[in-house]
């Protein structure tokens, strides 16, 4: 079975963000980069499926600058067989439709039986790319899955809905699923697998070969939201802070009465 998993490299969300010089994205200097958290679940599920179906071949795809290869190596060390890096220095300027179209252009004649993506990225959070790829390829898709089973050309998945309810959904392959947090427990790459990953095929394709559409939207401006909380911010020694907080709780709440 041929399987594709699409991943994105994103900044660590705990980072101190700054606005870029153009004012249309965050400044990418001095950030720690990692695999989009949702995609870790997608990679793990794809690797589990590869292990279930003998003779499978699992490709990991990532769009971005040279540095995304570091994140791709993690996916290869987790168990992907080969990598396709779509080289694009300005991937962050592309909208979900362009990104989905690029991936579709790559995937359209490759006969992938299953495609895995994260349900959204942690930075843009549009939750569009996975479903768009499936629509462009004319495949069924199930989004936001927290449980996945494959047998005999059929997927049984559970979608996570609001309030902790799940919807049980079934479809035939070829198909695409978008993965929600908690779907599985992403494995840590072992040292031997990290070494092995270095020898795996990592093909680079220039984005110009795959981009055939135009963006439908642009980020006009990016900025920090105004602080609306207006809450008190306290810093200092832990013991002093504890005294201050107890005083506040006695004044403002009834819980220490």
């Amino acid at each position: 079975m041929k399987i594709l998993v699409c991943i994105k490299q994103v900044p660590d969300m705990e980072s101190k963000f700054k606005i870029s010089a153009t004012g249309s994205w965050y400044d990418d200097a001095d950030l720690a980069w990692r695999m989009n958290e949702y995609d870790e679940y997608a990679v793990e599920q794809a690797v589990q499926l590869k292990e279930q179906i003998a003779g499978s071949d699992l490709t990991v795809l990532c769009i971005g600058r040279q540095q995304v290869q570091e994140t791709m190596k993690k996916a290869l060390a987790m168990g992907c067989d080969r990598g396709v890096h779509i080289a694009d220095d300005v991937a962050h300027e592309k909208d979900p439709f362009e990104i989905a179209s690029i991936i579709t252009e790559f995937a359209k004649d490759k006969d992938f039986e299953l495609i895995f993506t994260g349900m959204q990225s942690q930075d843009r959070g549009s939750a569009q790319v996975g479903v768009l790829i499936a629509e462009l390829l004319g495949l069924p898709s199930i989004s936001t899955i927290v449980d996945f089973n494959y047998a005999d050309g059929k997927i049984d998945a559970k979608r996570e809905l609001e309030g902790g309810i799940k919807a049980l959904v079934r479809c035939s392959t070829p198909a695409l699923v978008t993965c929600q947090l908690g779907l599985n427990t992403p494995r840590y790459p072992t040292l031997p697998n990290i070494m092995k990953a270095k020898r795996k095929e990592l093909l680079t394709v220039n984005v110009a070969e795959l981009l055939k559409v135009e963006a439908k939207q642009d980020t006009a401006k990016i900025y920090f939201p105004e602080k609306r909380g207006g809450g008190l911010v306290l810093e200092g020694d832990a013991n002093d802070l504890a005294d201050q907080l107890i005083k506040i709780l006695k004044e403002k709440t009834a819980v220490l009465a």
């Binding site: 930075d123 959070g125 936001t144 309030g163 309810i165 049980l168 939207q217 220490l256």
Partner: protein, 304 residues
């Protein structure tokens, strides 16, 4: 502006989020019509045209078929904007519609600033104004961002709709939320642990603080997903919605899904090493400190 509002229905009931769509139309001064795959017995209180498809016939979750039903209505109504909730139903169906229409889709809109939709970036640490450059636009609204319409009223003019499009997926029913061992909604004090606790061994200090405050302990999603705490203690969109007298968020960054579950708390204390964490937006007091030092210090003083 003319909008088409995509209402939601689940397990035999109209979802309340429908009235957030109505509020959005009112706030933007838009003319609107509504689309719903639901049932005649549970229609929204709404003054306008409701295009209604029967969920008994087309199922509550059936994206390929709902897509066609909606596209047919869009062809009739010709709205400038198709408006969904940014929910499991909305973010699944919206891309299918935007692609078919060749329209820009702007996700999780929190406000309209001088006519331009604004969406969060990087876990709400940043915002961006997004300009669609297509004639029609599809947007999904962040839960709660536009409030509910004041007092829903009215009776819609119902137009029944049908399609013979084939399904691509089969909906096999719902699995209810796990029976909750702990009813956090009744707790007067909740101390919650987030990713910032670092490792499961640190949960002890959270439980002890909860005990010292005579409350319960809860957790945010990453802690639940890591299986450090049972799902029954999850606070947030996919867990419990709580409104205690005091909520103490320990190492919780404040993803919108978590905030939605706790922002009705009367008093919120956040403990975080990151001064810019979005939890600061809803906190009455933000303690910028390492919770591993601060929490035991607080517990000790409370117990003394």
């Amino acid at each position: 502006m003319k909008t088409l509002l995509v209402a939601e229905y689940r397990d035999g009931k109209l979802l309340n989020s429908t009235y957030e769509l109505v509020a959005f139309a009112a706030q933007t001064g838009s003319e609107s019509a509504m689309f719903l795959v639901g049932d005649n017995s549970s229609v929204p209180q709404y003054n306008g045209t409701l295009y209604l498809a029967d969920s008994g016939k087309y199922s509550e979750f059936n994206p390929a078929v709902h897509k066609q039903l909606l596209l047919d209505v869009i062809a009739t109504e010709k709205p400038d904007m198709v408006v969904f909730s940014h929910s499991s139903y909305g973010w699944d169906l919206a891309p299918r519609i935007s692609l078919a229409l060749g329209a820009a889709q702007i996700s999780e809109v929190v406000e309209i600033d001088a006519g331009v939709p604004v969406a969060p970036v990087c876990n709400s640490k940043l915002r961006r104004q997004v300009k669609g450059n297509t004639a029609q636009t599809v947007i999904t609204l962040q839960a709660g961002a536009f409030g509910l319409s004041d007092e829903p009223s009215g009776t819609p003019t119902i137009i029944e709709i049908n399609t013979d499009t084939a399904a691509q997926t089969e909906f096999c029913g719902y699995e209810e939320a796990e029976a909750s061992g702990v009813d956090l909604s009744k707790a007067e004090v909740i101390v919650s642990a987030g990713r910032g606790i670092g490792k499961p061994e640190n949960l002890g200090i959270i439980e002890e603080l909860a005990k010292a405050l005579k409350g319960e302990y809860g957790a945010s999603r990453p802690v639940i997903d890591a299986e450090w705490v049972d799902h029954s203690r999850q606070v947030g969109t996919t867990g419990q919605t709580v409104s205690p007298k005091l909520y103490v968020a320990c190492g919780i960054s404040g993803a919108i899904q978590h905030l939605a579950g706790m922002k009705k708390s009367e008093f919120v204390v956040a403990i975080n090493t990151d001064k810019d964490a979005p939890i600061g937006e809803v906190a009455d007091v933000l303690i910028v400190a390492d919770l591993k030092q601060f929490v035991p210090a607080l517990t000790q003083k409370l117990s003394a």
